[in-house]
């Protein structure tokens, strides 16, 4: 085959790959069912257990202090799940689904988010075939532990530095998404080191290939979260970060 056709071949292959993988919608980077070999799937379950435990204790305390928190947590979880079914018009022109990682971490706090996030991931696996049972541990670690911790930390840090709330929210939401993507890439690279270039090369490959969907997603989600926060601030007493939204509050809006 002449040399220049080789480029044509690769270009066509790349376009096919691109159109297959990034058709109209880009999902958050859930590792699909069965992608990880058995021992790595198990490893991430073990790593996630302490975070589940901490989150469980936080939720238990919340429910003991305020019995109505249980319903609110249920609603919060359903809200996070429904959020992932919506489509954001993405900056690249295609669509992507919000992950709600940053929004959830700022509204509910990172420990609560771990439990809610893992339940949402379980639902996504069973109802939407998105993610999986064997990869639940790995996905929980990247999307419901690492992402929310980064988002919450950044939001708190940016506020402490006296930055504008919008900037803080944008940083928290977009970098939280990026953290999820980097951690997922690391998880994939650890399980599949490259035969030539090893762990580092593998990490670069995964980050490179998935950046097609994940970087636009992070930017879109950052923008969306800023809009949401601006609107929420119009309402009195809504989210000042953390668990205070689970407390009793007078209903200023219609309850139908």
């Amino acid at each position: 085959m002449p040399y220049r056709f080789r480029y044509l071949f690769w270009a066509l292959g790349y376009l096919t790959l691109f159109s297959l993988a990034v058709p109209t919608t880009a999902h958050a980077m859930h590792i699909m069912e069965g992608f990880l070999p058995g021992r790595w799937a198990g490893f991430w379950f073990v790593v996630t257990v302490p975070f589940w435990w901490v989150g469980f204790l936080a939720i238990k305390k919340l429910v003991r202090e305020k019995p109505e928190a249980k319903m609110l947590l249920g609603m919060a979880g359903a809200f996070a799940f429904v959020l992932s079914a919506l489509k954001i018009p993405s900056v690249t022109g295609s669509c992507s689904h919000p992950t709600g990682v940053g929004l959830g971490a700022i509204l509910f706090g990172p420990t609560v988010m771990t439990v809610l996030g893992s339940l949402v991931l379980l639902f996504q696996a069973l109802l939407l075939a998105h993610g999986g049972l064997s990869t639940l541990g790995a996905n929980t670690f990247s999307m419901a532990v690492a992402g929310p911790l980064v988002s919450y930390g950044l939001y708190r840090g940016a506020k402490a530095l006296g930055l504008n709330t919008r900037v803080a929210v944008f940083l928290a939401a977009s970098l939280g998404d990026l953290a999820t993507y980097v951690v997922t890439s690391l998880q994939l690279a650890l399980a599949f080191p490259d035969p030539v270039s090893g762990l580092g090369g593998s990490m670069l490959k995964f980050m490179g290939i998935f950046s097609l969907t994940q970087v636009p997603l992070a930017i879109s989600e950052g923008l969306l979260t800023v809009v949401v926060f601006n609107l929420l601030h119009l309402y009195e007493g809504v989210p000042a970060a953390g668990a205070n939204i689970f407390g009793p509050r007078r209903d200023t809006h219609v309850n139908r």
Partner: protein
């Protein structure tokens, strides 16, 4: 609303105890993950796929369509595993161990066997990479067939029984039930808002779209919290003591059936091993 959910509620296997189905699923998932790839996972995929279509009576077309959902991730993942890269200046002849320069191994594959240079890097398939990618694809198919079997035959409300058997705290299983119920309520709200917004050209442009979606999310959040409080008030008015009790369904539990299916899994595992060793 969700394909798997509607199949689960109308499934002929709905009456089977979720613990039994859970045990089948988890065991065959383990077999698919641990067994020698690519043979065992593919056998698992065929076996559980056949059970899902012929025993659980899921339409074959709908079943195959479900496999399209994770296709994007599978394709991207396949390329990430199969391709390797190294600096253009570095010779590809130096790696005898484990892999050989793609050119010499795959000469008949045309461009697939060569290398592609992008800037200072060269990109190529390696035999080791292709093997890993193949094993991963088989494993994913096997594991997906187990996930789909469970998802297509077990209504999520029955999951609570399974979680109790796994000694998951009641608080978590209650929360799961609540999230499941509320999901449909909030989906209705979100759909109504979305419809109203698009009828008013809310998503006509990207910038409008962001603002509309932001409004949708913010209002959905406020609605969710208001509804949560409403549910609590309604429950309290009916004597809520901090625990939600539901009547357990009467479900069948047949150890013999479970035993046969687990034995079939063990057989697939042994067959995979035997054939892999034999080749």
């Amino acid at each position: 609303m969700f394909t798997t959910d509607s199949y689960a509620y109308t499934s002929p296997l709905k009456k089977i105890d979720p613990v039994e189905k859970g045990a089948m699923t988890v065991f065959s998932l383990l077999v698919a993950l641990v067994g020698p790839a690519p043979l065992t996972p593919l056998l698992v995929a065929i076996f559980w796929g056949a059970l899902t279509v012929f025993w659980a009576r899921v339409s074959g077309r709908a079943y195959l369509k479900l496999y399209l959902l994770p296709l994007g991730f599978l394709v991207l993942g396949w390329f990430s595993l199969a391709l390797s890269f190294s600096p253009l200046t570095g010779s590809t002849a130096g790696y005898e161990v484990g892999w050989l320069p793609a050119k010499t191994v795959w000469p008949s594959l045309g461009p697939l066997g060569g290398t592609l240079s992008i800037g200072p890097w060269q990109l190529y398939f390696t035999p080791a990479g292709l093997r890993t990618a193949g094993a991963m694809t088989a494993r994913s198919l096997g594991a997906l067939s187990c996930l789909y079997f469970f998802a297509l035959t077990t209504p999520l409300t029955q999951m609570v029984g399974l979680l109790q058997a796994l000694r998951v705290p009641t608080l978590i299983s209650e929360l799961m039930l609540l999230i499941y119920r509320f999901t449909f309520v909030l989906l209705d709200v979100a759909t109504a808002i979305y419809l109203a917004q698009s009828a008013r050209n809310g998503y006509a442009r990207i910038k409008n779209g962001y603002f509309s979606l932001g409004q949708l999310v913010a209002n959905l959040f406020l609605k969710a919290m208001a509804k949560g409080r409403g549910v609590f008030i309604a429950l309290e008015a009916r004597g809520y003591q901090g625990e939600l009790r539901v009547l357990p369904e009467r479900l069948e539990w047949r150890p013999a059936r479970l035993g046969v299916l687990l034995a079939a899994d063990v057989f697939l595992l042994a067959l995979g091993w035997y054939l892999t060793q034999g080749v």
